[in-house]
Symmetry: C2
Subunit: 373 residues, 2 copies
Amino acid sequence: MQFRFEIIHKSKKSRARVGRIHTPHGVIDTPNFVAVGTNGTLKALDNRMVDSIGLQLMFCNTYHLLLQPGPDVIRRAGGLHRFINRQMPIITDSGGFQVFSLAYGSVADELKSRGAKKHGGHVLKISEEGVHFRSYRDGSKVLLTPETSIQTQKALGADIIIPLDELPPYHIGSEALRRSLDRTHRWEIRSLQEHLQNRQNQAMYAVIHGGVDPLLRNLSCDTLSQHPFDGFAIGGSLGKTKAEMIAMLTALMPRLPEERPNHLLGIGDLESLRQCIPLGIDTLDSSYPTRAARHGLLLTHEGGIKVGRSEHANHFAPIERECTCWTCQHYTLAYLHHLYKAAELTFFTLATVHNLHFMVETMRTIREEILRE
Amino acid sequence: MQFRFEIIHKSKKSRARVGRIHTPHGVIDTPNFVAVGTNGTLKALDNRMVDSIGLQLMFCNTYHLLLQPGPDVIRRAGGLHRFINRQMPIITDSGGFQVFSLAYGSVADELKSRGAKKHGGHVLKISEEGVHFRSYRDGSKVLLTPETSIQTQKALGADIIIPLDELPPYHIGSEALRRSLDRTHRWEIRSLQEHLQNRQNQAMYAVIHGGVDPLLRNLSCDTLSQHPFDGFAIGGSLGKTKAEMIAMLTALMPRLPEERPNHLLGIGDLESLRQCIPLGIDTLDSSYPTRAARHGLLLTHEGGIKVGRSEHANHFAPIERECTCWTCQHYTLAYLHHLYKAAELTFFTLATVHNLHFMVETMRTIREEILRE
């Protein structure tokens, strides 16, 4: 099966659309939520369970897999799908985001002045060639270039791959941002060239940069859409507030080639999701629902439930009566409360199952809503 | 279904026997391994998975459940089976073991001179009435007596319950051990009287004490077997070496009433198991296989595999080719190695599934071996 994007319906009320991304490992219905399985597993879930929940696209991190177990092991296993036993589609990133996060810290870190270089010592050198950094696992020096990122992603063999980009810090002068953008474009085009030498039935999404500067976002969009990328990811700094992100997307989205799918990187809380999809976002990934689960926040149609609150100790019914997830079919909120209070590992699994199922069902509902618009 | 023990076959080579314990929640084939689910869950597994592995008896700890969520919550839930959604049999202990462990530390602690009173401050007073201790959860004072232990176990509603005993330290003079034994017997008989006021279709196993003194073990056996306990647990100090335990059991086992089932408390490593069953042990519990899993030790017919060893990084086959567990049916040792190295929660689940399945299958094999003897 070749990669192909099919638009089924366009909303008459907004730019939202319902579509299908066809990949070698099956269909991704859009709009859809993409869960993050950094190391080739969603935390606390096994991949058969993830399949049974119906998560159609899983996001794995090249940075982590590059360092452990390394591309050679995964290549020998027959690729990431076989290594982790996942039958459905996978997307991998370039590794750049994590490397630059090490250098600059996350946007949140920066805004909270938690230090611009959280693990700064680990990035050794950034040049036109790429980034030298030190492995957090064994201290060895690693060179990440557009070419090595793509070679690693070829070993992994995900259905959708991402070119190497430079992630500039949020607080950056406009000149420096412009220079970073130009380098990102050069890196992305080198990534594409490397990819096109051996497509391997993978699709590549360009990453649109430009921070919150509308002109730079437009420039990035126009530059990258001239190249045969299969889709577009929206990356870089998305602003320090939801409003900034929405303003940026409102300006950018109409400019993206409509017939190619897009992906919003690293956003997946319910409020953002409800605001971004009407702007035309097809997929978006976040570790929020699974991380929230591990911290005792259960997602429901009436908002988040803090499982540790004592009012739940005697709630001998599922989290939500109508929920069809494994957890709600078999266990009560009172039992989940108990497992959480007792700090049992089983809690992580059962809570993650529920939150992931909630996201899958929420996206199904959103698609149905758009189909009626 | 009334509690009933049925002996199906006796070995001609040893005292080993194959039997069936009938309980209100189904049959326990003996000899069998009993896994420990302290807080009403086996660590990292959900109870439907535990059922599907075929674990016939699960051991829950009254001490922990008394403090969290407390007997009232479990009574309101309709008992422990309903609260944790387990359909198969459960055994609970009296809570005494944990309380006295707090006072004296474990035998291992004591032998390693890690201090006689690990959390000594938590036990406030031991008297003929029972034990006052302080909850590790909220600092409240709790009184555990034969009567309150049984009342708690009535709220939990396990199929098999245990009377309150005193756990003397391993290093104790013979006079003090004798006094402790007498008190234990008085407590156990008070527990039995409390139980018989409202059987609630539960069975009660007496706990044989006496440390490694054969005369005291015999005395304990003879004293307790005059009372209508449904079976016998072998508790107290089992010695500081396997040899001491085996010597004690070799002397004790022929003295136990043959027609009643017995249970060896807190022993379940494979070597002990292979040595104890020929002495006539019917069931034995241990957290060893599940704890070993979490520490990266996978049980196989060729001995334990340390999953973290680099030689497993490229082993693209199950832990054991013939193994029919969920983990071996779906994942390779190489993937488990990776999950372990990446410190993923999913590892705990997959490793525990395998080790528990291994124990269930090992016990099945042992029963088949005895049937041929």
